[in-house]
């Protein structure tokens, strides 16, 4: 209920969510929305026309239909990776921040190690090794992206564990598990949501980069994959902007929408930013 109000009140969050919802719906309903089967070979290199809104590619697949369907993989990989990162990051952040001691040091040590690894080269390296599988790539991105969430959650938990309601619950006999699940978790959820949005954007960018480099799954269309083919199969040299521009724009728009939401969250927590924006 509180969230619903937040979404309606804040124009940044509202417009960002509206945009992202649009993309999600388009992706979910793409099989019904797409005018053609995106895998079907027709005449190649067609220019945009009423029959093929964005023309066809090198093997004659309808680019507009491709664009719609590719959203499923791009958003799907992004969401599952971000979800994994969020769950791992929250669990580790809460555990480390609440339990402190040795556990904290070990977990935060691991977090820092993962945090300093340059993300993209590592992902490229491992995905070459693992081969092109969508769950594999999601898992990989998820594993790379949890540390920044864990860090943020931990520092919030450090102040939460001193909160009056935590102390009074403890004084009435609540154990660590009880306090962590009942009192700490709900109070970090807004923060998790904000971090999730950023992680989602990051995850989608990584997925697009991997696919663009040709390391994605060729049997699953994604926006990065479309860019890859447009680049390697003559889309750029033939200046077929209707081939390479739409997937690039789609990625940019989704990231833009996510950044809007994030900006909305930040504005809510930092009134100074609000003044700058006005």
């Amino acid at each position: 209920m509180k969230f619903a109000r937040l979404f309606r009140r804040n124009p940044l969050i509202f417009s960002g969510s509206a945009l992202i919802t649009f993309f999600i719906f388009a992706a979910i309903f793409s099989p019904w929305l797409a005018p053609h089967d995106p895998w079907q070979y027709q005449q190649a290199f067609l220019e945009p026309s009423p029959g093929h809104l964005l023309g066809t590619n090198d093997v004659g697949q309808d680019i507009f239909s491709e664009l719609l369907v590719a959203g499923r993989v791009s958003l799907g990989v992004g969401f599952s990776a971000a979800l994994m990162a969020a769950v791992t990051g929250v669990a580790i952040g809460i555990l480390a921040g609440f339990r402190r001691g040795m556990l904290d040091e070990v977990l935060m040590g691991a977090t820092d190690v993962v945090l300093v690894i340059p993300t993209l080269p590592l992902v490229v390296l491992i995905s070459v090794y693992l081969g092109p599988s969508l769950p594999g790539i999601s898992l990989l991105i998820g594993l790379i992206m949890w540390p920044s969430i864990a860090r943020v959650i931990r520092s919030r938990v450090l102040s939460l564990r001193q909160a009056g309601f935590v102390e009074s619950a403890r004084a009435l006999g609540a154990g660590d598990w009880w306090i962590m699940s009942r009192h700490v978790l709900p109070n970090v959820l807004p923060l998790v949501l904000a971090k999730f949005v950023l992680t989602l954007a990051g995850a989608m960018l990584i997925e697009a980069s991997i696919s663009f480099l040709g390391l994605g799954n060729p049997s699953a269309k994604s926006w990065g994959m479309m860019l890859h083919y447009a680049f390697t199969r003559g889309g750029f040299i033939r200046e077929m902007w209707w081939w390479y521009l739409p997937p690039g724009l789609a990625i940019a728009m989704v990231i833009f929408a996510l950044n809007l939401i994030n900006l909305g969250f930040e504005e809510k927590s930092d009134p100074r930013l609000k003044k700058v924006l006005e």
Partner: protein
């Protein structure tokens, strides 16, 4: 001594700080029987909060370096943290000082009271924990809640419903305080401890809460911590006066107030009659808990100090229903001067 509930012997609690070792509790002796109501009084910083937190082993980062705490037949200082969870709440329930932060802003009052009930019944699975909500009308839990809350002045069914559905920030100070009291009572504890129950309240609510605690003390074993004499007079049948991390005097409330034995008690009472509200006697402010004076901690400020006071710690003189730790008394409870 058959129904002795709490027995604190020579309790020492210290904090290791960059400034040095803070000796917050320095050989506390204290006893309580079931049914009694005991007031702990003393100025800011004398170690009252540290004492009651130590009873529940929540004094961290403080360390209990010596002494024993017997509660309900168990030695609290020797229990594991896991075992402590059964002492906290069901054994000793604390009514926290600050009602505005002691409730979780994410849950309604009903959900938090329901949570307490659920924990008492051992429903501690992750799912049960997350879902613990307001007990539905007609259930045993709801009757339980209604019973406790009506004792706290929420008699009307619709008022009760509204209370259970409201979030902590919607409560007035007095209501918040009563919800916290209810939370403690729901666990049916053997001992209820209230830390400064009235300090954060305005005048009208304070009177109301005092009256409530007074009624509570009739059928609960109650320990009340306060630096306000008037709070304790209303509620407690016995009081213990603390100074410098020690109990310097204890006894029946009437006797302590009408015939204070320890020079510090006299000064404390005087300062309270002179200045209403928070006492600002110079003594405690001046007492440095790190560079602790040898002998009686109060001797630098004591108008009646004798040479022995700065050399030896005064022994505790026990008499009929009280005690005093002062060199002016030796064994009989009458002044030797």
């Amino acid at each position: 001594m058959t129904d002795s509930l709490l027995e604190v012997r020579d309790l020492h609690v210290r904090f290791n700080t960059p400034r040095g070792v803070v000796r917050a509790n320095n050989g506390i002796n204290l006893g309580m029987n079931t049914g009694e109501s005991l007031g702990i009084m003393g100025e800011s910083g004398c170690g009252k909060t540290v004492l009651i937190l130590s009873l529940m082993r929540l004094q961290q980062p403080g360390v209990i370096v010596g002494g024993s705490i017997w509660f309900d037949g168990r030695e609290v200082t020797r229990l594991t943290q896991k075992e402590m969870q059964t002492v906290r709440g069901k054994g000793i329930a604390l009514i926290p000082q600050n009602h505005s932060t002691a409730l979780n802003p994410a849950y309604t009052v009903g959900e938090q009271l329901g949570e307490t009930l659920g924990r008492r019944q051992g429903k501690t699975g992750l799912w049960q924990t997350l879902r613990a909500g307001t007990p539905g009308a007609g259930t045993r839990d709801y009757e339980n809640l209604r019973h406790v809350l009506s004792g706290l002045g929420f008699n009307d069914e619709s008022v009760l419903r509204r209370l259970l559905a409201s979030y902590p920030h919607e409560l007035s100070g007095g209501m918040g305080q009563r919800v916290l009291i209810a939370m403690a009572l729901l666990l049916e504890p053997k001992l209820v401890i209230a830390d400064e129950p009235t300090t954060a309240l305005d005048r009208a609510t304070r009177a109301e809460t005092l009256e409530l605690l007074g009624r509570l003390s009739a059928d609960t074993t109650l320990m009340v911590v306060s630096h306000e004499v008037e709070t304790l007079v209303c509620i407690c049948n016995r009081v213990a006066v603390m100074y410098g991390g020690r109990v310097v005097e204890s006894g029946v409330t009437g006797r302590v107030f009408s015939d204070p034995h320890h020079p510090y008690t006299r000064i404390l009472l005087q300062s309270q009659h002179l200045i209403r509200g928070k006492p600002v006697s110079s003594a405690a402010v001046a007492l440095d808990m790190v560079n602790f004076p040898p002998g009686c901690p109060f001797h630098p400020f004591c108008p009646e100090a004798v040479p022995a006071c700065s050399r030896e710690e005064p022994p505790e003189t026990v008499f009929d229903s009280g005690s005093v730790a002062c060199h002016l008394y030796n064994g009989s409870g009458t002044c030797s001067k």
